[in-house]
């Protein structure tokens, strides 16, 4: 049983200019764990997902989803022109 959880952690982290190490220390995880979550090689527990979401001040569903995320431009500006 390994449901793929999609995330946009790398994008949000880049946008906020937060390093893996900084995020890892803030949420009590190893920096490799953050990297593996970004690569989709590890699905965080609900506890860790909530801590990451809290760190960025975002709802957890803005960072993690069972469905693939749409490109941000598509979400903001709608479908293709």
């Amino acid at each position: 049983m390994s449901e793929q959880v999609h995330n946009r952690l790398a994008m949000v982290r880049a946008e906020r200019k937060v390093s893996r190490q900084e995020l890892a220390e803030a949420v009590g995880a190893h920096y490799q764990t953050v990297g593996y979550i970004e690569r989709g090689q590890y699905n965080p527990s609900l506890d860790l997902a909530l801590r990451i979401a809290k760190y960025f001040g975002l709802p957890v569903e803005a960072l993690f989803s069972l469905e693939p995320f749409q490109p941000l431009t598509e979400e903001v500006y709608g479908g293709k022109q």
Binding site: R13, Q21, E25, H30, Q32, Y36
Partner: protein, 175 residues
């Protein structure tokens, strides 16, 4: 994993296990496999020498001389494997995060399975040898027992080194 409850020893070990000096030695899965294979070979060589010393009719203490560099190389490679796994088996549980604890449990389960197969093979070989020779080779019982103990002790390290994943790509250049 929160660092508040870690002792000074835990923090020192976490720093030690996360040093990046030897990163090139275990940067890829192939290199990690080579390191583990070399570690297994060195363990076998050291075990072989000790067995020979134990079984030799005459005292051959000069054999301790080649054991020194072998032991030093073995210690170095143990450190490389521990670095490759970021101390997965060396650090205390409270110094590991949830993903590392999951990895440690998986490594323990895999090592247990591998050891079970190895012990089954060893028992089969001993029984076959006993059937062919008429009696089990009792002279090898003590070295075999020690070999099993050492393998049991080191199997998790070998499994952890072999199954360790690649380091995440370089972090973003501007952060």
């Amino acid at each position: 994993m929160t660092t508040d409850h870690l002792t000074r020893y835990d923090r020192a070990m976490v720093r030690l296990m996360n040093r990046g000096e030897g990163r090139t030695l275990y940067a890829s899965a192939r290199r990690r496999r080579v390191v583990v294979a070399a570690h297994v070979a060195l363990t076998a060589a050291l075990g072989g020498l000790m067995t020979y010393l134990y079984l030799a009719q005459r005292e051959q203490w000069w054999l301790l001389v080649p054991m020194v560099p072998l032991l030093l190389a073995w210690m170095f490679l143990t450190g490389v494997i521990n670095s490759a796994t970021r101390g997965l088996l060396e650090l205390r549980e409270r110094a590991l995060d949830e993903r590392q604890l999951t990895d440690r449990a998986r490594v323990g389960a895999l090592a247990h399975r591998a050891m079970t197969l190895l012990l089954l093979a060893a028992v089969a070989v001993l029984l076959c040898a006993g059937a062919v020779l008429g009696a089990a080779p009792t002279a090898y019982a003590a070295p075999l027992l020690i070999a099993v103990l050492v393998t049991h002790w080191l199997m998790p390290l070998w499994v952890a080194g072999t199954t360790a994943r690649d380091e995440p790509e370089d972090d973003l250049p501007h952060v």
